[in-house]
Symmetry: C2
Subunit: 364 residues, 2 copies
């Protein structure tokens, strides 16, 4: 994995984006922002799931005026998504919003943009320039590639803000097509030091959308590109957060937390690995410290994986081998596998963290 | 995206792996191989879903003897997964299997390995050396990194086969950890010209397992590494195939087929994008030629995406804009959005392919 690209940090409330800060996970409320109760509820769910920053659409002044109540109730930084109307940006800033997503090119009058920037500067509120392949101006730089056009448009808008002496900037360059998205971010990565908000947009419903986002975000993060990420799915925003966190965990960019290693099963297995693994994931939902459970169907790879897990089971011919802290402990009949494993997990978690060998995991 | 790594082709039945052939998608039956009916049924489902190669566990002679009946009924190449017992390999070859997955180091007697290789040579059956991080020998090359140990073990086993003048070889190096998997394949990529079977193993249940596999496989394919892929999930093997195909499609390594672009929705939307997008995906399941549908909640990015789609809708304030072949056609009330879109899709598909502009899609 390449070293992370150097970027200049910006702050949204208590979250730093860029400058070597941990990669943050973003999502967006899908409620009507004017429905204050529903929006606050969804924000709470997102924060509980580990979302770091949430964006809200602000399509009109009624939505903007809902923001101050929503802001007071929210535990994490909020970003207002603004298009076309500068008054919405001003109202959002006055409501206490922590960041703006706003394309300067969308604000037609120069003095309107100047007003927004003055307000944002006074409160040190960053602005994300969010270029989207689906809304490039018609006939913009014909003859150049789409990623190149996205980058040019973003850099033009950066200059509009810099010309007003504003530098609390983040940039995103989203397309619904994975290679286009990757190319655009790779192109801009060397041309600016502003932090990059990375994602694939309009990716469709899960699981298809999760795959497209994981590819785009994953390849870029592997190349060291990306300071904050948004998985975009047509569906529950909690899935966006879960997917984003799993991407970071899987690439070692976030503390591992609890994880389940489980085999795909095959004709060698009489153990119901899929059901047991799902039960274990449910049991580990609230476990935040590193804890690894292996659910393995047979003795080909089972003992090996169990030796590198805090707790594990490996199916044998007519019984199941139970492991604890990497060591074989006992065998039980197959129909007791799930109970034995869950018992062992509860017992291991009750004596942690003293018992867990961090070394054991490192050796995997 | 980097150019694909050069590899020497091997053939399994009518499928070529490596040597510039299209990246193939593999899965594995999860039925008891001895249950011939259930196994044939699952094979049929996998082939219908677009799986190119299927592996079956062969844990005993009864499973091996089921293979000839299964083989005769299967429309795609089959690989026998063999461990420890050389007689199972011989029986599988005699049953007409198209490939073996077998680690020479697992076969304790040299003359047993020689017998397997002679049979495989006679029928030009390739052998995949499948090194798995979970089953490395204890105390193997202590002090070196896990990816390095996996590569060393694979190359040692390659030499065992080459010493017997056998070169129909594929290699896999799977770990449950994504960076370990990527590192191992990157290490071996320059050290051998044999085709690489790529995957992340014991990745857990979907969606977590799909994300880990997409990351590992996706980053490697983006680097040009990988001739055939297996997504490994604790769950329905059809999901493995769907995930594998979506990875290839999203990276442009497979004909696009039908695709749905749909926005994540936000407080700007009154359209039920998620439900409509899911309906559209269902409608397009059987469409194999390129066909793009956009389901967009609002006018910020909606018209732009619709202009690059065969059919699309974009939500407006109290109505929905309907697009066909990139051009605005009409608007309908929001509650008729789904019907209007599905009608337009049916109409577009009924006159294809004459109407579709390939150029339109290229311009995206």
């Amino acid at each position: 994995m390449r070293e992370r690209r150097h970027s200049v940090p910006v702050r949204l409330g208590n979250v730093t984006v860029g400058g070597g800060a941990p990669v943050s996970v973003q999502s967006m409320t899908k409620t009507d922002t004017r429905d204050i109760g529903a929006t606050i509820n969804q924000l709470r769910c997102l924060a509980d799931a580990g979302c770091n920053i949430v964006r809200l659409a602000v399509p009109d002044l009624e939505a903007a005026s809902a923001l101050s109540t929503i802001r007071r109730q929210a535990a994490i930084p909020l970003v207002a998504d603004i298009h076309f109307d500068y008054r919405l940006a001003i109202a959002a800033i006055e409501a206490g919003i922590d960041g703006l997503r706003l394309n300067p090119g969308n604000i037609s009058q120069p003095d309107h943009l100047r007003t927004i920037v003055r307000h944002a500067s006074e409160r040190s509120i960053p602005i994300r320039i969010g270029v989207n392949a689906g809304s490039l101006p018609h006939d913009y730089q014909p003859g150049t590639s789409l990623p190149q056009r996205m980058v040019s448009l973003a850099l033009e808008q950066v200059q509009m803000l810099e010309a007003l002496d504003f530098q609390h900037i983040k940039i995103s360059l989203k397309a619904s097509d994975v290679p286009t998205t990757i190319d655009a971010y790779r192109l801009i990565a060397d041309q600016t030091a502003y932090p990059l908000h990375v994602g694939v947009t309009e990716a469709g419903p899960p699981i298809c959308g999760a795959i497209r986002n994981t590819l785009g975000i994953g390849v870029l993060l592997y190349m060291g590109i990306g300071d904050t990420i948004r998985v975009s799915l047509s569906g529950d925003p909690l899935m966006e957060v879960d997917t984003g966190k799993e991407i970071l965990r899987s690439l070692g960019l976030m503390s591992a937390g609890a994880s389940v290693i489980s085999c795909p099963t095959c004709g060698r297995t009489s153990l119901d690995v899929s059901t047991i693994a799902t039960q274990v994931m449910e049991r580990l939902r609230s476990v935040t410290e590193p804890f690894r459970v292996a659910v393995m169907g047979c003795v080909v790879n089972g003992p090996g994986e169990c030796e590198h897990a805090d707790v594990g089971i490996a199916g044998g011919e007519d019984k199941v081998l139970v492991y604890r802290s990497g060591t074989f402990k006992r065998s039980v009949p197959i129909d007791q596998a799930s109970d034995a494993l869950l018992q062992e997990i509860d017992s291991a978690l009750s004596v942690r963290p003293a018992e867990t060998s961090e070394e054991m995991r490192k050796n995997v």
